[in-house]
Amino acid sequence: MSAAARSQHAEPILSARGIVNCFGKQRVHDKVDLDVEAGEVLGIAGGSGSGKSVLLKTLIGLHRPDSGKVLIEGKPIEAISADEKAALIGVLFQQGALFSSLSVAQNVMLPMREYTDLPVSEQEKIAAVKIELTGLSADSAMKFPAQLSGGMVKRAALARALALDPRMLFLDEPTSDLDPLTAGGIDELIMQLNRGLGLTVVIVTHDLTTLLTVCDRVAVLVEGKITVGTVDQLARSHDPWIREFLHGPRAQGAMNARKSNHGIR
């Protein structure tokens, strides 16, 4: 898409500079720099325990780094007010984090109820559209989170993340715990939202298929350092972990999927 072309002149929508995070003696992030360009899909990959989720939490301001700063559109994240942030950032948490006492529709309407003064009938209409947009049927809107399957939870949580039409979407392991077909549906949905709504998407995942088929660029966290590039650039990397990651047996199937998918694109 045009993200690459745009990135050459526009300034990044989000940039992280010199992020350091330590847990005890372990230095999880060692001066990590990361830029997210407007309109792109960026994947953040890395082994288990490499600090992917912590990096995501740092980027959205839920975790305060030990040093370093995060700028969204040139503004430090701590300086952004809550309602501005709500309109700017949507987050899909790993377990969905749907409010269990509210139905799906109420979950989606909650941010609208708090931040806008739209009449309830209007909110319901918008919520219905968001829920349909994420591929759920209108009947599941009245269900409660406990009644939903894993894939439906992710879709409902995505609908809630989209409630205020944020410009950036952060997804924490959107396809984990899902069967391959459902995961494929989520991948398709992410691409659709990125293209249709012009959303900037940051995905934390170790799902190779998602990384290779959906993401424009991939950032790989290895031993506290980050390497960013397109998949083709990363494939030529000399780092042993990245080599193993992208050339291992599990990567081959994903690579094939990527080829066929790019044919469609």
């Binding site: 309109g39 968001k130 947009l133 039409d165």
Partner: protein, 373 residues
């Protein structure tokens, strides 16, 4: 793209034009939706063929696109759609856009009847559950007594520390407070008859027979009964109970029995401690309100109280402990699935445990009265 020019300021929408042609300028989105809808409400009713010029829109989000799609469905022609907005319109327009289904509403009186029925059914099943669980606990307890080697001393001693030793300060405080309350009330009530000296025996008897054990049991039900439910409930929610079962280990022996035995050991000890502290509180009251010294006070207590008063209080403790532990563990094992249900079961366990403690206390009172103790 959307709203890039309106980063900090609130997005604005200007509506211009007249007759059957209107044009939008600015941002059509979440914040300007109501404005747009109100402006068009009037306009749409007046004319038959209408054109809406959207070429000057600088921003469009999903609610805005939804609005435009609705207009298009009502035969309003959208003119000058920009290419970047066209994709969004196509995406939203392609959705079925069904209204949310409302759950069928049930008449109030029928809801009441349904609730009553449900409540009765729940109560019936609850009672059966408790009965089953009590039976199971008793059988496991009996088995443990016959085979003491199957007990787990380590986990029992951990439970004793958790439910007993850590509860000492709060139990002491409660016991002292309760005798202060009784003391003040009885001094005030008995003084007109010149019988305020009986305050000492009143405190001693009521603390030893009733208050010591009751307050301690209620405290323990709130403190340890809830902890049992939460601990076992979380294990259940995280499939740890299933893991135990799959290894052929009996969760009942591993989790329920140590808690039960631990509490049956600690509650009488705690009650004894509460009795002492209650008498101490009584002595404090005697000292400050009646100016009776500690040695005199102890003399009076010895006269007023028989060993059976002390025994009546203490004998109830293991029974209460058994019910508190049973109800706590039972509700822990009844947790289903989510973390939400842990909270619900914990509430139920505490309420039920305190209820049972008070019911059995009343039964004991009647029983001891009949027996003449």
């Amino acid at each position: 793209m959307a709203g890039a020019s309106s980063k900090s300021s609130t997005p604005m929408l200007a509506i211009e034009g007249e007759g059957d042609r209107l044009s939008f300028e600015g941002v059509l989105g979440l914040c300007t939706l109501t404005q747009a809808r109100q402006a068009l409400e009037h306009w749409r009713k007046q004319r038959k063929s209408r054109v809406l010029d959207v070429s000057k829109l600088s921003g469009l989000d999903t609610p805005g696109a939804m609005f435009l799609c609705e207009l298009r469905d009502k035969h309003v022609e959208l003119a000058g759609v920009q290419s970047e907005h066209a994709a969004l319109l196509e995406l939203i327009g392609g959705l079925p856009r069904k209204p949310l289904t409302k759950p069928p509403t049930i008449a109030r009186w029928r809801q009441l009847v349904i609730q009553l029925g449900k409540g009765a059914d729940d109560f019936w099943h609850d009672s059966l559950d408790i009965l089953t669980f009590v039976g199971r606990s008793l059988s496991a307890f009996g088995h443990a007594l016959r085979h003491p080697s199957s007990l787990r001393p380590a986990s029992i001693s951990r439970q004793i520390a958790e439910t007993g030793i850590h509860a000492l300060p709060i139990v002491a405080l409660m016991a002292v407070m309760i005798s202060i309350v009784i003391g003040y009330q009885s001094v005030a009530q008995l003084r007109p008859y010149g019988g305020e000296d009986f305050t000492i025996s009143l405190i001693a008897v009521s603390v030893l027979r009733e208050m010591g054990v009751l307050i301690t049991a209620i405290m323990v039900a709130g403190r340890s009964g809830s902890a049992f439910t939460a601990e076992i409930g979380v294990m259940k929610a995280r499939e740890e109970i299933d893991a135990l079962n799959s290894m052929g280990l009996e969760p009942f022996d591993l989790l329920v029995l140590p808690r039960m035995i631990g509490l049956i050991i600690t509650l009488p000890l705690l009650t004894f401690f509460a009795d002492i502290m209650g008498l101490l509180g009584g002595a404090m009251i005697a000292q400050s309100l009646l100016h009776i010294s500690l040695s005199q006070d102890l003399e009076r207590v010895r006269e007023a109280v028989s060993i059976s008063d002390f025994g009546v209080g203490l004998i109830k403790a293991p029974v209460f402990a058994f019910f508190i532990a049973t109800v706590g563990c039972m509700h822990g094992l009844r947790v289903r699935g989510s973390a939400e249900s842990v909270g619900r079961e914990t509430t139920r366990a505490v309420v039920k445990a305190i209820f049972l403690v008070i019911v059995f206390d009343a039964l004991f009172s009647v029983f001891f009265e009949k027996v003449g103790l």
